[in-house]
């Protein structure tokens, strides 16, 4: 008997950016388990290779490169195979009070969290590397709707990504390409330590979550699998919150 599994990624090729750590690494590992051929991107070759070592099966590809470098993007995209899925996960965290914002803070966060995925997406479309019926996922953040002290620039960068995705969705719909965002609350990765809170303080905070814990990369990865798979073919232009119940 054939197993019913609309969530399978068998036969799909998926690019995951920011796959050298955190949520991106979790997504790459889970996509491989679900049968995808994964192209993993990160800046640091050593760490991307560590991700590769955790992945099941087939001939996955490395795409090492800094996506804030426009020239590097053109070369990286040129080397890509045809894709069925793209997960824009590369991002950085930062906490700066509004009264302390410097121009360089804005550039740093927006170059990585907004400009890089937009230019990468542009180049992928220009070089026609995304198959008809493909699925694009942006890892955004709940911070866009849930303000917290010191998070203005990060939240703004993720809000910009969501607004961009909403328009991209309209432009790609004629080719049955879907675009969705995932907005997680706090997830245990290196990124959340950038806020200056200690691990103890974070553990105390996670007890305020209705499900009594922060997310794990695999929680986000499973939702990503759903959005990449044919189970979600009627879903586009959505921004899915995944928060353990917190607002």
């Amino acid at each position: 008997m054939e197993t019913f599994n609309p969530f399978s990624l068998e036969g799909k090729t998926v690019l995951v950016t920011g796959a050298s750590a955190g949520i991106g690494r979790g997504i790459a590992v889970t996509c491989a388990k679900m049968g995808a051929m994964v192209v993993i991107n990160g800046r640091n070759e050593q760490r991307v290779k560590e991700t590769l070592g955790m992945m099941d099966g087939r001939e996955h590809l490395l795409a090492v490169g800094d996506l804030t470098d426009a020239e590097a993007i053109i070369q990286l995209v040129g080397d890509l195979p045809k894709l069925d899925g793209i997960v824009h996960c590369a991002g950085i965290g930062t906490r700066v009070l509004c009264r302390n914002v410097a121009e360089t803070d804005i550039d740093e966060v927006f170059n990585t969290n907004f400009k890089a995925p937009v230019l990468l997406q542009t180049e992928i479309l220009r070089q026609k590397k995304l198959n008809k019926g493909g699925s694009i996922v942006f890892i955004a953040s709940i911070s866009n709707e849930s303000p917290s002290v010191g998070n203005a620039l990060y939240a703004a960068s993720k809000g910009a990504v969501i607004a961009y995705a909403n328009c991209l969705q309209l432009e790609l719909a004629p080719r049955q390409i879907r675009v969705n965002c995932i907005s997680p609350a706090m997830v245990w990765t290196d990124l959340i330590f950038k806020g200056g809170l200690t691990e103890d303080e974070l553990h105390e905070d996670e007890q305020k979550y209705p499900l009594k814990r922060y997310g794990r990369p695999e929680d986000i990865a499973n939702l990503t699998v759903y959005l990449l798979s044919d189970a979600s073919v009627w879903m586009t232009g959505s921004n899915v919150k995944i928060t353990g119940g917190s607002n």
């Binding site: 026609k128 008809k132 432009e171 004629p174 080719r175």
Partner: protein
């Protein structure tokens, strides 16, 4: 500005339509993939490759790819 280059750049704005389907005398409005989105792609291409501004109206008023080429060349 050269007609064959323009035709290649024009064809590059399409995802599903093979470049061989697009010639100087192609009535582009009849192409299945033609839409207001493609027109926006053509406008952007003309701006970046030829540094000229065309409007959707001007493109709409053309019938063939060569008509567009001539319209832009005259600018």
């Amino acid at each position: 500005m050269e007609l064959n280059d323009f035709i290649a750049n024009f064809a590059d704005q399409f995802d599903e339509t093979d470049a061989s389907e697009i010639q100087a005398d192609t009535r582009f409005h009849d192409l299945e993939e033609w839409s207001s989105l493609t027109a926006m792609g053509i406008i952007a291409m003309v701006r970046t490759k030829y540094d000229k501004a065309v409007t959707g109206r001007e493109i709409r008023d053309c019938e063939t790819v060569e008509d567009i080429f001539n319209m832009i060349a005259a600018k």
